[in-house]
Symmetry: C2
Subunit: 244 residues, 2 copies
């Protein structure tokens, strides 16, 4: 980006590296190298502080950073400590949510990305979904029908998308979908949302039927129709909120 040749003498910018940064980096290195792996327990804070030759507060800021990054989990009490976590996509979702809140992303971008993403997912799921996956999807759709509250039905919807993404056997798509679901959740409100929810359930069953028949184009088409209805609603409500 800023690497265009310039007449200035190319001194490297002095970077005062803070203690906690160095500590984080070292721990991350051990993670990438495999020296540290999920389930491992780090020494106690007081011990680590001695080992790194920093104060306990500096060390704690490092551990706190790693915790909010989802890398470790701090457990209180005897036999407590910092445990290396297994991978959880929550933090990625949180990061994306923060990013959107900082105002750089429009609703249009979100919906477009979701549409394109679900396109891929449906195609892959069509090829790879096992009968277990399909049964689970149907079970969720059934459950949605029985749920009474708007919020519970929304939770079902999120789960439906997550299971569908899982059917691709590629976790990356799961992360992307979860992130978009979490972000779009904030927009999905409004007076006629309940009616919309009801009418979407049938579409979920249809999609499963297409997947089971391995009819890729029909499945993609169903998903598109489905999402476009949702997005129309979201957009309308977003405009209404902006007006009101």
């Amino acid at each position: 980006m800023a690497s265009s040749p310039s007449p200035k003498p190319s001194f490297a910018p002095i970077k005062t590296r803070r203690a906690f940064e160095v500590i984080c980096e070292q721990i991350r290195e051990q993670l990438a190298a495999g020296t540290l792996k999920a389930g491992d327990k780090l020494p106690a804070e007081r011990e680590l502080a001695v080992e790194f030759q920093v104060s306990r507060s500096a060390l704690r800021e490092a551990l706190r950073s790693l915790e909010v990054a989802g890398i470790i989990r701090n457990v209180k009490g005897a036999k407590g400590g910092a445990f290396v976590q297994t991978a959880e996509p929550d933090r990625i979702v949180q990061a994306m949510q923060d990013y959107v809140h900082l105002g750089d992303i429009s609703l249009g971008e979100l919906t477009e990305a979701r549409l394109a993403l679900q396109d891929i997912i449906v195609r892959l799921a069509c090829a790879r979904a096992t009968e277990t996956d399909l049964a689970e999807l149907e079970a969720i759709a059934e459950r949605t029908k029985r749920e009474t509250s708007v919020e519970a039905r929304y939770t079902c919807a999120v789960e439906y998308y997550a299971v569908l993404a899982r059917a691709t056997k590629n976790r990356i798509f799961g992360i992307f979908v979860d992130s978009l679901s979490a972000i779009l959740h904030e927009f999905v409100r409004g007076p006629d949302y309940e009616t919309l929810q009801q009418s979407l359930i049938e579409s979920r069953f249809k999609l499963v039927r297409h997947l089971r028949a391995k009819d890729e184009e029909a499945a993609v088409g169903e998903m598109r129709k489905h999402l476009e209805r949702v997005h129309r609603h979201v957009r309308k409500n977003s405009k209404a909120a902006a007006k009101g």
Copy 2:
């Protein structure tokens, strides 16, 4: 999620919320509500500590969390303080990198996701890329030719993908691409990498030509061929590393 009726007395789980968590949450709320926005300056740590009625250390852990989340930036010195940042996707990339390092994601998943993603991107770019975008892509490809070091050429490649993603006019894709680039960077090594790099440059020019001609299928095909070569190399090297 956990709201299914159960015979157990439904006591709410006691959640000992730590001070820094509450502080983070309140600040995030103000962010989502728009009370706080990019560029704003938070009060000084000592002031904030009084306001939240916590010690400075607890408050600092909160600020540190927000900083590593990319939400604020801490500036030292007089007139320093915590400034709300503009949106930067770096943290999302970092989160994804952490996720992969924690060992849940295979190389196959990464390459497959990239392939599918670039498919979308090429199609969208084909429809939306401006002449400025295309010229920039060509300029980067030209620059790649002139670069001498492997690392510099890799940087060019990453930039090429980033600019291509930007041509979709949808920042979400940019984030996804950046993340995958950062993660795959660790795998792209090996003895014959330099030869591969050279042979890839021509492909980049071809892609731009297809984009300019708005020949979607040709562009997609070129990108697929391109990536498949890269991925074959990466896979081979990954196996070699595992054997050695």
